[in-house]
């Protein structure tokens, strides 16, 4: 997979020993800096040119400085001017540029001819893609072609994909991998507030008395933010409460770890609300002035069948009806099935209910990858709305993103089937605005969404989609139930184009592979979890014919006859596209910073109004878009009020039984970024975590006679995967649960997972299905 530049074996081993220690230190002290070692690769007497940008990996959006010399990137360090990370970086961040030089980098287009990949000039490969796309549309209609992009696509890449599919071709067959990680957060924000993305910012960390993390292992997934929380814990006595289904490094670093039975977070959140209401902890004046109460449909199903559809029908209720609904969620009743003690439920409620304590709730995949993910997001908002702890420094709900531009690209540009750069396709006003800016006939943008991610790959399998182009993503490792979707993508009925930096199990099934530029080999913009937009300039040349995804999309659009809609120049397309895109968000509610500001500063938070970032939305003290004359204005909703939702507990679609007695939970590790296509090519990270494993509770392992390292077959009703057992190592699942990280393409745990999803957000649940385990 990679070759070492160190020829001396002993020196190499020494280096590995150092890097193992650095990785261990980074998991114990997130954000730790070993400047001497981290800068050791810098050539002696080097005259480095340091260029700023955001980190390539997670949604935190740390500022990095990349040192280049003679056209090569040779070092990375944290940007001390970035208020996100203040010079800190995690172990992935420090080593990110090491993947660029991987031996198997995709440097030229490859076209499958007679079953073998043939190196092909890029222009010729783009001709093939454009011709195939055109032919497919002519023969089968425009809804027979699809694009599947990424929360790692840059803002210009996402924007031209949306314009190409929705504005030029006229199909809503565009979705992205952020559907797999953030869609429930989006649906939660929209249903509760009418406006997407967190109201607060990372500066909340400096003000909060309590951090409550909901199913969120921040020490490994958002290490720099967790490090900032630990700093506040040590300095000011701020407290971290970890509420989760598995004991992790975050749990051990927290003040309290409270474990719950999978799926019962819904009930516990309602029990917290019950306590708040019944103990008189509700902020009555806030609720009366700023909140409405609603309920929606229940027993929605789980999307397990093809072509499943669901539309919620919200109806208004009054406070008394909501109070009555909560009677089902007394701590005593909920403790019985959540396995959270009455005392712990009351403890959590008392933290939120104390008017003198500032509380931030953080979550990421645990709450979002949930068959009731939208509800779960609504319920945490309920807690903050009932107590009025929202939109103020140190008080607020904050959904963290997994990918570096899940917010900036997927959510803000709108690379989902139902979205436009501003608003949704179902809204005529929004379609008209898009048509005007794109200079296309309004009628061309279809008013109905088509396929969300899971349904898109089901449509490929069924033969309904006959052409698909994936960019910056690896769905055949990251989708749930890959055992269905891999054979689906291999079928001759669908022409597959994969644009990527490295070969992956997804590119293995492609008809055409396009060689993409990596992060610093192109200019771009990302938007992180706190609404911060960050720009970077191209830092180094990419190898061979590697090309930015935005430019390849534009080239295909031109070949299909849409050149007049894409009048950008190759040299300045990023700037030209961003300036066009900014028009969608003009105004005080979502104004984006001008490019010249972003070029100078380490990002700016939108709404960017009168030269200033807005750190806390909906609070009149900080947000110039508030116009109702009150302290708070939830202007995403027509009446300016947020919604407290009646959302019940409903069980998971598949629960352990006699045949499949264990819960399977899947997730990530600190060393690897998602499906590992980049980080497994970084020697230090690969050495530190070379393969996946299945974690057991020691009592379960003992009962089954399983020893550490022994190969175990994990099987569900859908498929199986063999992995070594891990007992008392990285994490500790609760009894009756096993945990498997999904980064390893050689051990595809998503062959085992279930493709059930939240009926509202359409985000799959990777955290819960039933499996059996046996010695392999």
């Amino acid at each position: 997979m990679y070759t070492s530049t160190l020829t001396d074996r002993r020196e190499f081993i020494k280096k590995m020993a150092i890097l193992s220690a650095m990785t261990a230190a980074a998991t114990m002290f997130p954000g730790i800096i070993f400047a001497e070692e981290q800068e050791s690769n810098i050539p002696e007497g080097a005259n480095l040119d340091w260029k700023k940008g955001p980190c390539r990996f997670c949604g935190v959006g740390c500022g990095i400085l990349v040192g280049t010399e003679n056209g090569k990137a040779v070092a990375v360090k944290g940007d001390p001017n970035s208020s996100v990370n203040k010079g800190l970086l995690c172990v992935k961040g420090y080593h990110q540029i090491m993947c660029i030089q991987a031996k198997d980098r995709l440097t030229h287009a490859l076209v499958k001819k007679n079953g073998a990949y043939v190196k092909t000039p890029l222009n010729e490969a783009l001709d093939i893609v454009a011709n195939k796309m055109k032919e497919t549309i002519q023969e089968h209609g425009k809804d027979a072609v699809a694009m599947y992009t990424s929360g790692q696509s840059t803002i210009p890449e996402g924007y031209v994909a949306s314009k190409f599919m929705k504005g030029a071709i006229g199909t809503n067959n565009l979705d992205c991998n952020a559907r797999l990680c953030m869609a429930s957060a989006v649906a939660g924000f929209l249903t509760s507030f009418g406006a997407d993305e967190p109201m607060g910012c990372y500066e909340d960390i400096d003000h909060a008395d309590y951090f409550i993390t909901w199913g969120n292992n921040m020490a490994e997934m958002h290490p720099v933010l967790f490090s900032r929380m630990l700093e506040q814990k040590n300095r000011r006595g701020a407290k971290i409460i970890d509420f989760a289904t598995r004991t992790t490094r975050s749990s051990t670093a927290s003040n309290r770890s409270i474990l719950f039975e999978p799926q019962t977070d819904l009930a516990v959140a309602n029990a917290i609300c019950y306590e708040i209401v019944h103990n008189g902890w509700m902020n009555k004046s806030f609720v009366e002035k700023h909140c409405n109460f609603s309920k929606g449909l229940t027993n929605m199903g789980y999307g397990l069948e093809d072509n499943y559809s669901f539309n919620d029908k919200p109806s208004t209720i009054d406070f008394e009806a909501y109070k009555k609904f909560l009677e089902e969620y007394t701590p005593e009743k909920v403790a019985k099935y959540s396995k959270v003690s009455v005392k712990d439920i009351k403890y959590l409620a008392a933290i939120y209910g104390d008017p003198n304590k500032k509380v931030v709730s953080y979550w990421c995949m645990g709450m979002n990858q949930h068959t009731r993910g939208t509800w779960m997001n609504n319920l945490v908002y309920n807690i903050h709305l009932l107590t009025g702890k929202i939109s103020q420094p140190g008080n607020g709900p904050f959904s963290l993103t997994g990918q570096p531009s899940a917010c900036g690209t997927a959510r803000e540009v709108g690379t989902f089937t139902h979205k436009l750069p501003k608003g949704v396709v179902t809204n005529e006003k929004h379609r008209r605005l898009a048509a005007k800016i794109w200079k296309v006939p309004y009628e061309r943008i279809p008013p109905k969404p088509t396929y969300h991610a899971t349904e898109m790959f089901r449509a490929v399998d069924r033969g309904d989609i006959k052409f698909i182009w994936t960019q910056v993503t690896n769905p055949l490792v990251s989708l749930p139930k890959t055992g269905r979707y891999r054979p689906g993508m291999e079928k001759d009925s669908c022409f597959v184009v994969v644009s990527d930096v490295f070969p992956t199990p997804t590119s293995d099934v492609a008809d055409v592979i396009l060689p993409a530029s990596w992060h610093i080999e192109k200019s771009g913009l990302y938007g992180n979890s706190e609404r911060r937009t960050q720009h970077w300039d191209k830092m180094v040349e990419g190898p061979g014919e590697t090309t930015p995804d935005a430019w390849m999309t534009i080239e295909v659009a031109k070949r299909m006859g849409f050149g007049d809609l894409f009048p950008y120049s190759e040299e300045n397309h990023v700037e030209e596209i961003y300036n066009e895109y900014r028009q969608f968000h003009e105004g005080p509610k979502h104004g984006m910073a001008p490019l010249e500001v972003l070029k100078k500063e380490s990002g700016a938070i939108w709404p960017y109004v009168d030269g200033k970032s807005t750190q806390w939305r909906f609070n009149a003290k900080y947000d110039p878009a508030c116009t109702n004359g009150e302290d708070f204005h939830f202007y995403g909703k027509p009446d300016g009020k947020a919604v407290i939702w009646e959302r019940p507990y409903e069980p998971a679609p598949e629960v352990p039984d006699a045949a499949y007695p264990f819960w399977l939970n899947t997730g990530r590790v600190i060393e690897h970024w998602h499906t590992g296509s980049m980080t497994r090519r970084i020697p230090v990270l690969h050495k530190a975590m070379p393969g996946a494993y299945v974690e057991f509770h020691p009592e379960d392992a003992e009962a089954l006679g399983i020893r550490n390292g022994e190969n175990i077959k994990v099987s569900s009703r859908r498929g199986s995967c063999v992995l070594p057992a891990s007992i008392n190592e990285r994490g500790l699942p609760t009894k009756g649960q096993v945990f498997v990280p999904f980064f390893d393409e050689n051990m595809l745990i998503n062959d085992v997972t279930l493709d059930a999803f939240c009926p509202i957000s359409k985000e799959p649940d990777y955290k819960k299905c039933a499996v059996k385990v046996e010695k392999a």
Partner: protein, 78 residues
């Protein structure tokens, strides 16, 4: 030919003393953290006996609070 890596935790406020003490041994390579009270220690010795003796000396350093091994490799020279 063992090569081992450790996280060496100093007694509070004695990180610099610990670094000075460790760097006195030629078999030790020290990488201090910039922003935490911990240092990475790499030991590179000829054999197990030398490694054992060195470890005893390190553990006797007054500014050391805790020495936690992270990895150990045994290798031939080059």
């Amino acid at each position: 030919m063992p090569i081992k890596s450790y996280l060496a935790h100093p007694i509070t406020g004695m990180k610099n003393d610990l670094i000075v003490s460790l760097t006195q041994y030629e078999q030790c390579e020290v990488i201090p953290a910039e922003n935490n009270e911990v240092v990475i220690l790499i030991t590179d010795t000829q054999d197990d006996t030398e490694e054992h003796i060195l470890k005893e000396k390190i553990e006797a350093i007054p500014s050391l609070k805790l020495l936690a091994m992270v990895s150990g490799f045994n290798t031939t020279k080059n």
